[in-house]
Symmetry: C2
Subunit: 193 residues, 2 copies
């Protein structure tokens, strides 16, 4: 089994953990494609959008020598914002990217409530906010603008967004070579760039 | 000795490490004041500016049980961007905050070359970029807009920016109660908000 970013796994006990890990591993694909895309955008001086580092709480650090701090204990913490933000054509860009195995819907458990609040704040203050959601089994990747996303969750009690909502309201993102996922092309269409 | 964020120090060997740590500890003051300020701005629905998580490379993770991942080995990595960014009045905000003990100048060693490149990119693409520099011994905190910063480094071979340059070109930020450091007031003056 391959682990993301050369992470070694020490212990293991249950199938659910394996499933969680392979889920995380699948998650690398969209993430790494978006990272490649953002690197490309920077290389052609088009946009400056970065994935934020994973938020962790550090509780123990070793200093075996100067300039060689080693974190010996830390914990993943819940992110307060989305994973990606940056600048494009003078505008503030903010989005979250998620993958799902489901063929029928995107579970809202994938997005933390404060991430939803954050997206709402960005929308209210004239930032450009959206979700990129990949249905891995279907091999379909969508860009869903935040106003459509908020419209859905504000008017539905469901715990998930059906695939048909994406097919109707969101923009299908096709895989390319350079850039890998040209999501700014969609943003250009929407904001009239 | 107090360590930031409850970090426990395991080993120690030299004074330089102690000095490095206490330097980091001092750094918490400006950082925590800016975090408090940004929380306040969010609470009054004024701006959505966050400090990015510290970038680390995770190399070992334990999974003692489901939902309880513990990072057992990780390393600090050099940030590719600045520490703070976000959205204010529809505009992209980006800045780096630094403290110095020096009474005479701000060493450019405090800012990584790719952070300078990043600030230049943000400036070129109509983002609002600046530095917040605190001279702790003098108890003076300045907001230096990126165009003045770039002007200085592009026209001087010096390895540091003298305090007089800050006193002439930058904006003195006074400590307040709520918000603690009202840097957006200065931004309002500059962008005519």
């Amino acid at each position: 089994m391959n682990y993301p970013n050369g992470i070694k796994k020490n212990n293991n006990s249950s199938d659910s953990i394996v499933s969680e890990l392979s889920h995380k591993n699948r998650g690398m694909t969209l993430e790494s494609e978006l990272n490649t895309t953002n690197e490309y955008y920077r290389s052609i001086d088009k946009a400056f959008i970065y994935k934020k580092p994973t938020p962790i709480k550090i509780t123990k650090v070793d200093y075996p020598s100067r300039d060689k701090a080693v974190i010996k204990e830390a914990f993943f913490t819940i992110p307060s914002t989305t994973d990606y933000n940056g600048l494009y054509k003078g505008k503030y860009i903010d989005f979250e990217a998620k993958e799902t195995k489901s063929k029928t819907s995107f579970s809202l458990n994938n997005i933390h409530p404060h991430q939803i609040n954050h997206l709402r704040n960005i929308y209210n203050h004239s930032g450009i906010a959206f979700l990129i959601v990949r249905f891995t089994t279907l091999n379909e990747t969508y860009l869903l603008m935040v106003n459509d996303f908020l419209n859905y969750i504000d008017n539905n009690d469901k715990k998930s967004i059906p695939i048909d909502f994406f097919r109707e309201k969101a923009y299908l993102l096709k895989d390319g070579y350079m850039p890998r996922i040209d999501y700014l092309k969609v943003i250009d269409e929407i904001i009239g760039g």
